[in-house]
């Protein structure tokens, strides 16, 4: 008979009954070009790699859902796929993701179970939810999942493979919750039929375990996001490289100088041809009025001379002088 509790009340791996295994979360980071979000989650010795692609165009028209996104999932375990696990993951994610935001699109999740040392389903659900978070897909809440089982008449959280084998003789609950609303989005019970009181007790314990897991995951995403945002915002304010700044500056200045001072340049010609830069009669009248105001009592010859200093002579040659004389009056 193996011993599940030693005298100090600890489990085989040194945990207390209501303690989760150490979690190791790696979010984001370098990923394949078509993948939008990725996460690697290790719960104890169980580890799952999750990739999220989407929301993207649905491959087949017949798969499209008119007013919501479709969630699809593939679970790869060793060399083969696990469709049963995949269906559970899809059903769970569908309730957590705000699918209405992406009509007709598909969100696909690929999970690789790298090592299975107990609580496989919980680890898959957690990893999938992290991958979705990394892909920036809006979710109602940070999903958390954990298993709780009856081992030696005691409720153990986050079962290892050894304990799982043991617990399945009695009962093992894997529960996924949205902690904010305390909503259970999926619950899986394995094992023998239970009495109502034991069932309720086990379920509420499993919810506690899942909430614990959810809080840890939320903290991990907060940390990750903080780093990523800091990186993005810090680099966004990078000062211009000196050469770049100077070269564009001078280029602009040269261009402007050409436009303003070099009357014969093509730029100036194109400027004029847009017909905005011949002084109109009104403009000239205004200019003359200005000159009159500043120095009253000028003779018409003096006025003409003053005008010449303001505009180049070849522009004034093209003026319609009769019209000007009419407008001026004198």
């Amino acid at each position: 008979m193996d011993v599940w509790f030693d005298v100090s009340g600890l489990r085989k791996d040194g945990r207390k009954p209501r303690e989760l295994r150490a979690m190791d979360v790696k979010l984001g980071g370098p990923k394949p070009p078509n993948v939008d979000g990725c996460a690697w989650l290790r719960m104890g010795l169980t580890s799952v790699l999750a990739h999220c692609i989407g929301p993207s165009e649905t491959k087949r028209r017949s798969d499209e859902v008119q007013d919501a996104a479709r969630v699809s999932c593939t679970v790869v375990r060793g060399r083969r796929e696990d469709p049963e696990l995949a269906t559970t993951v899809v059903r769970t994610l569908e309730t957590a993701v705000l699918v209405d935001a992406f009509p007709r699109a598909t969100i696909s999740v690929v999970l690789h179970v790298l090592a299975d040392e107990g609580s496989r389903l919980a680890c898959c659900l957690n990893a999938a939810s992290l991958a979705l978070v990394d892909a920036g897909i809006p979710m109602r809440d940070c999903l958390g999942a954990a298993a709780a089982g009856l081992v030696a008449d005691e409720v153990f959280f986050d079962l290892t493979r050894d304990e799982e084998r043991r617990a399945s003789a009695k009962a093992r609950f894997t529960v996924a919750v949205l902690p904010r609303s305390r909503r259970v989005v999926s619950a899986h019970l394995d094992g023998a039929p239970l009495e109502t009181s034991t069932f309720e007790k086990l379920l509420s314990r499993a919810i506690d375990a899942a909430t614990l897991a959810a809080n840890r995951l939320a903290q991990a995403t907060r940390d990750h996001v903080g780093e990523a945002i800091q990186m993005r915002d810090a680099t966004a304010a990078t000062p211009p490289s000196r050469t770049n700044g100077r070269s564009t500056d001078t280029e602009e200045v040269v261009l402007l100088e050409k436009m303003i001072y070099d009357v014969k340049s093509a730029y100036f010609a194109s400027f004029l041809s847009s017909s905005k830069h011949l002084p109109t009669t009104d403009e000239v009248v205004e200019a003359l009025g200005d000159i009159k105001k500043k120095t009253p009592g000028l003779s018409p010859e003096d006025l003409a001379a003053a005008l010449r200093t303001k505009y180049p002579s070849w522009l004034l040659d093209d003026m319609n002088w009769t019209e000007l004389a009419e407008k001026m009056g004198d």
């Binding site: 984001g28 370098p30 070009p33 939008d36 979000g37 989407g54 929301p55 993207s56 165009e57 705000l98 992406f102 009509p103 007709r104 699109a105 978070v133 990394d134 892909a135 920036g136 897909i137 809006p138 979710m139 109602r140 809440d141 940070c142 949205l178 902690p179 904010r180 609303s181 995951l217 939320a218 903290q219 995403t221 907060r222 990750h224 996001v225 903080g226 990523a228 945002i229 990186m231 993005r232 915002d233 810090a234 680099t235 966004a236 304010a237 990078t238 000062p239 211009p240 490289s241 050469t243 770049n244 070269s247 564009t248 280029e251 093509a266 010609a269 194109s270 041809s273 847009s274």
Partner: protein, 294 residues
């Protein structure tokens, strides 16, 4: 303030405007993506790090034609759905302004074929989030003879100009799409511009260019026909610089690209070396230190 999804933003949704990345649950304003809470007056929103491109009118996007449909092209731009580029919102080859005929629809593949890379502007965003594009400017249209790089869309912010030209020793042009798709090509020499503007008599009524549409077309064709120079790794290095920024989650701007390029050149890194884990980390750290000096 950084939040995970499901975190409380304000205890009451009363008096706040619900922005992107937030939902109201039980009268509380709750975030639904992981990111940073940004407040503009009464508008609360959460800006996430990743996430697919969400179209906004006026954005420059670079995309790839996936399908030639009836009267429209379907363009992949890295959004949730494919974008459409209607036949009526491209410039015809002869620059005519007229109703598109059946003949035009039949010769759509001559304008853009499957697999072509285009740069375009977002004309409209429909209710369901699908994007409509247009290429009614000489600057937009088919791209050729260059590299396409993709980075997460969140890393590209609105820039003063999304067509960046590095002169002097770089001699590279970059079109930074708001969707995170970035086109890199050798710069079209200014002398070509001048030759053509001399030929066609300079000015045109176009707001963004002195060249006519016809001149742009010849310019494009001439660029597309330019042979590759195997010894010239400048385009490749700029491409690698953008990959480094995307890999490390750093913002992609004209300045950051050039900094990474110049650092890599100074350290004697070849383009393939730049995007390795070790060197990309070093290059981005150098970027950050540049910020601190200021």
């Amino acid at each position: 303030m950084n939040v995970a999804c499901g975190d409380l933003i304000t205890a009451s949704s009363e008096g706040w405007m619900r922005g992107h990345g937030t939902v109201v649950a039980n009268g509380e304003l709750v975030s639904c993506v992981a990111g940073k809470v940004e407040r503009v007056d009464k508008l609360m929103r959460v800006r996430g790090v990743n996430g697919r491109y969400v179209g906004e009118v006026g954005d420059l996007v670079v995309g790839r034609v996936l399908e030639v449909g009836p009267k429209a092209w379907r363009v992949e731009i890295g959004g949730c759905r494919r974008a459409t580029l209607a036949l009526s919102s491209v410039n015809l080859p002869d620059d005519e302004q007229r109703i598109r005929t059946r003949e035009d629809a039949l010769s759509m593949r001559d304008l853009l074929d499957v697999g072509n890379v285009v740069c375009a502007e977002v004309q409209a965003v429909r209710q369901d989030g699908t994007v409509q594009l247009h290429t009614r400017s000489n600057r937009y249209g088919r791209l050729a003879n260059g590299h396409l790089v993709t980075v997460p869309a969140g890393l590209v912010r609105r820039l003063p100009s999304h067509f960046v030209r590095y002169d002097d020793d770089l001699d590279v042009e970059v079109a930074v799409g708001n969707n995170g798709w970035i086109w890199v090509q050798r710069a079209i020499p200014m002398t070509w511009h001048e030759e053509l503007s001399a030929d066609t008599g300079g000015g045109s009524s176009g707001a963004d260019a002195l060249l006519t549409a016809e001149a742009w077309k010849t310019l494009r064709a001439r660029h597309a026909a330019r042979p590759l120079d195997r010894d010239d790794d400048r385009v490749d290095r700029v491409r690698a610089a953008i990959v480094v920024l995307g890999l490390r989650g750093a913002a992609v701007t004209a300045d950051t690209i050039e900094h990474v390029y110049r650092d890599a050149l100074a350290w004697g890194l070849t383009p393939p070396q730049m995007s390795t884990l070790k060197h990309s980390h070093r290059l981005v750290r150098a970027l950050l230190s540049k910020k601190r000096k200021r």
